[in-house]
């Protein structure tokens, strides 16, 4: 029997609680709204001697990720956390951390990228970093943010992967929203994550190694191939870790969460906290006999193309909810839409797919917006015609 304590925590504090239990050897971090609570709370753990971590309060996010790279190369467990512009400032180092195959784990509290300046939730920050070589896990609730952070350690450090992991939650909505969170026993978390034994360490002075060498056209390409190969091995590992977590802590995790999908003729694809709103609407619509289901994506990188195509194989109309825009993309679509269209095209699907951009800069989304989406889907499913490939929810025009 696994002991757990039910606590009222917001998403940011839930993540800092996971960090306390993980007790990384080094945390290098810089505060930024709405991630600040993560770093503040963790600093207090350091001040109270509740962790063994060497906490490096750096002068910028770029320095945070740079110090994480140096610390991870030196052979210990390393974490940081950030949001929005902080993540953007790290850009260069995100790629370097991933290319050096350093298993750094980073909670990200999603916030809109400037400009104009806005501190509220959308996914432009982490979606902008989607090609940086990090595994990306998205969380609907504070509980999921906590659970995903713990699982991220196991995923990142897996011998076949050695890839950094970002764990997302929605800024303010989840980050500052207090929920009931089941916090596992410290001992159980530590047993689950195990000890970290890196293959190479910069501190191994008896076996000196060169880290971050200059890599020209005669090797760089092969190294990139190795990196992408690692991603192709990630999905079964993420699934296995999710399953093991479930058997130990009672909450199962897969690649995505299917709700009312068994006989669904229409589906909504969504990330993070908005899944809650969608679930309510799907439930109501089901009562009215509408054959609608929902897929809440947990893993965006690697993108579960085959798995999604399978899950959507009997669906006639799909609505993607994108909380960011890929500027200049096909009709200004969002990244989930583009990825899903590629996946369905490759699988030979003839489902109609539409995209809804919503919630930019923290704009609220209400059940009636989702009801509108379902209404559109019904029309598309019956007529087989798409009026608008990309639409907007809750936008004044």
């Amino acid at each position: 029997m696994v002991m757990a304590t039910k606590v009222a925590l917001d998403g940011a504090h839930a993540v800092s609680e996971a960090m306390r239990q993980i007790d990384p050897d080094v945390v290098a971090a810089y505060p930024i709204t709405p991630q600040t609570a993560v770093v503040q709370r963790f600093s207090q753990f350091v001040a109270d001697g509740r962790v063994n971590t060497e906490f490096v309060a750096v002068e910028s996010e770029h320095a945070a990720m740079s110090a994480c790279v140096g610390a991870a190369a030196a052979g210990g467990r390393v974490m940081t956390a950030t949001a929005a512009n902080g993540l953007a400032l790290m850009w260069e180092m995100l790629y370097i951390a991933a290319s050096m195959r350093l298993p750094i784990v980073m909670p990200v509290v999603n916030r809109a990228l400037s400009g104009p300046l806005n501190i509220h939730c959308d996914h432009s920050d982490s979606m902008g970093a989607r090609d940086a070589g990090w595994i990306q896990l998205y969380s609907e609730t504070a509980q999921e943010a906590y659970d995903n952070t713990i699982q991220a350690i196991r995923i990142a450090e897996h011998a076949d992967l050695k890839l950094p992991v970002m764990v997302m939650q929605d800024g303010f909505i989840t980050g500052h929203g207090v929920e009931r969170v089941e916090v596992a026993d410290d001992k159980d978390v530590r047993e689950f994550i195990g000890k970290y034994a890196p293959e190479h360490s910069l501190l191994d002075i008896d076996n000196p190694k060169t880290f971050g060498a200059w890599d020209m056209y005669d090797y760089y390409f092969e190294h990139k191939r190795q990196q992408t190969d690692a991603f192709s091995k990630a999905m079964p590992i993420i699934t296995a870790v999710g399953k093991e977590f479930g058997s130990r802590f009672g909450r199962n995790y897969g690649i995505f969460d299917a709700f009312e999908m068994d006989d669904a003729e229409m589906a909504i694809i969504v990330l993070s906290s908005t899944a809650g709103t969608c679930r309510t609407v799907v439930r109501d619509m089901r009562k009215q006999g509408v054959k609608i289901g929902m897929l809440k994506l947990r893993v965006f990188r690697p993108f579960p193309a085959a798995e999604l195509a399978r899950a959507l194989s009997r669906v006639r109309a799909v609505a993607v909810l994108d909380r960011s825009i890929s500027f200049g993309a096909h009709e200004g679509a969002g990244p989930i839409f583009m990825e899903l269209c590629s996946a369905l095209f490759a699988a030979g699907s003839d489902a109609k797919v539409v995209d809804y951009i919503f919630g930019l800069g923290g704009r609220d989304i209400f059940p009636q917006h989702i009801e509108q989406v379902v209404h559109d889907l019904k029309e598309i499913a019956s007529s087989g015609k798409v009026k608008s490939q990309v639409s907007y929810l809750g936008l004044r025009e």
Binding site: D25, E54, V56, V78, M93, L203, I205, A213, M216
Partner: protein, 308 residues
């Protein structure tokens, strides 16, 4: 602290031969002098630049000690991360204390310009590391572009001498003083020409219980425009003219380590290098006077600081 040549020459090389530095480059000389002087085991970090590309071309490496490079601006944070991990693992009993010294190496571009914030942050936090600036007074790796270390009148590819402009129009950033203003345990300025002085400084830096910094004038014959065999003579003249004074700031006490018996005119140093050739044309001659005035003023200030 004394450097005994016989002992030093018996120590194994930490930077192997067969690296790809240009003939006559001062950088590998300085690195070997410094790493030879430090008796403790070292972990070395390098910023993107000549040192990095000349020593680490995959699948080869010239490093016989653990070495890391991550990016251009951030070698101070990268090595600070490694040093933090070391302290953490030793404190937790996860590894034995091996008395490791952490050395960060950056050029003037990486130190005076793009990486100043990262360095300043690491100094303020008090990581125990030795930062070596190899100041060759421009972005030499990318083909001689001006930096804030480039002196007045030097012709670079982004401050070229032309019909109306005599090369760079500004003097240089007083980086060593900026670092000293962080009140870290040890700050010094050195030159490979005065090797014993440099090696003693490296040893003091390694002994400092906190951050230390050495700014070393690093001759680049490709950028400074002179023949490959005169690198050490050119850096010696920089010292003899007081263009590059040798001094240290140990626990906030300023000390000039070398006072030339006869302070030579800066013109003697300038004329050794093609990057200043245009200054000897009549219309730009006054720039030499300005350089001399800057050198004189800074030398006087430095003498006063070290007397006080």
């Amino acid at each position: 602290m004394a450097i005994r040549l016989k002992e030093q020459s018996a120590k194994p090389e930490r930077l192997a031969s067969g690296h790809r530095f240009c003939a006559g480059c001062a950088e590998p000389i300085i690195i070997r002098q410094i790493l030879n002087a430090i008796d403790e085991p070292v972990v070395v970090g390098a910023a993107t630049g000549c040192t990095e590309i000349a020593t680490s071309m995959y699948p080869t490496t010239a490093w016989r000690v653990p070495w890391i490079h991550s990016a251009f601006e951030n070698v101070a944070s990268t090595i600070a991360g490694a040093e933090s991990m070391y302290r953490s693992l030793v404190r937790q009993g996860k590894m034995p204390d091996k008395n490791i010294r952490f050395v960060a190496i950056g050029g003037d571009g990486a130190t005076y310009d793009i990486g100043l914030q990262w360095l300043s942050g690491a100094l303020e936090r008090g990581h125990r590391f030795i930062y070596i600036c190899l100041d060759n007074e421009a972005y030499m790796n990318t083909g001689i572009q001006r930096s804030s270390a480039t002196p007045l009148g030097a012709s670079t590819t982004t401050s070229p001498a032309g019909e109306v402009r005599p090369g760079k129009q500004q003097w240089r950033k007083p980086l060593t003083e900026i670092i000293a203003a962080h009140h870290i345990p040890y700050v010094a300025q050195a030159s490979p020409s005065n090797w014993r002085d440099l090696m003693e400084k490296a040893r003091k830096a390694a002994a400092a219980d906190g951050p230390s910094f050495i700014n070393v004038l690093s001759d680049c014959n490709r950028g400074w425009r002179h023949s490959t065999e005169t690198s050490i003579e050119v850096t010696r003249l920089a010292v003899e003219t007081c263009y590059w004074p040798l001094y240290e700031v140990e626990n906030n006490v300023w000390k000039v380590n070398y006072k030339p018996r006869e302070k030579k005119p800066v013109e003697e140093w300038l004329k050794t290098q093609g990057r200043f050739r245009h200054l000897f044309q009549p219309q730009f001659r006054s720039v030499i006077d300005q350089i001399q005035a800057n050198v004189d003023r800074e030398w006087e200030i430095l003498l006063k600081k070290s007397e006080g």
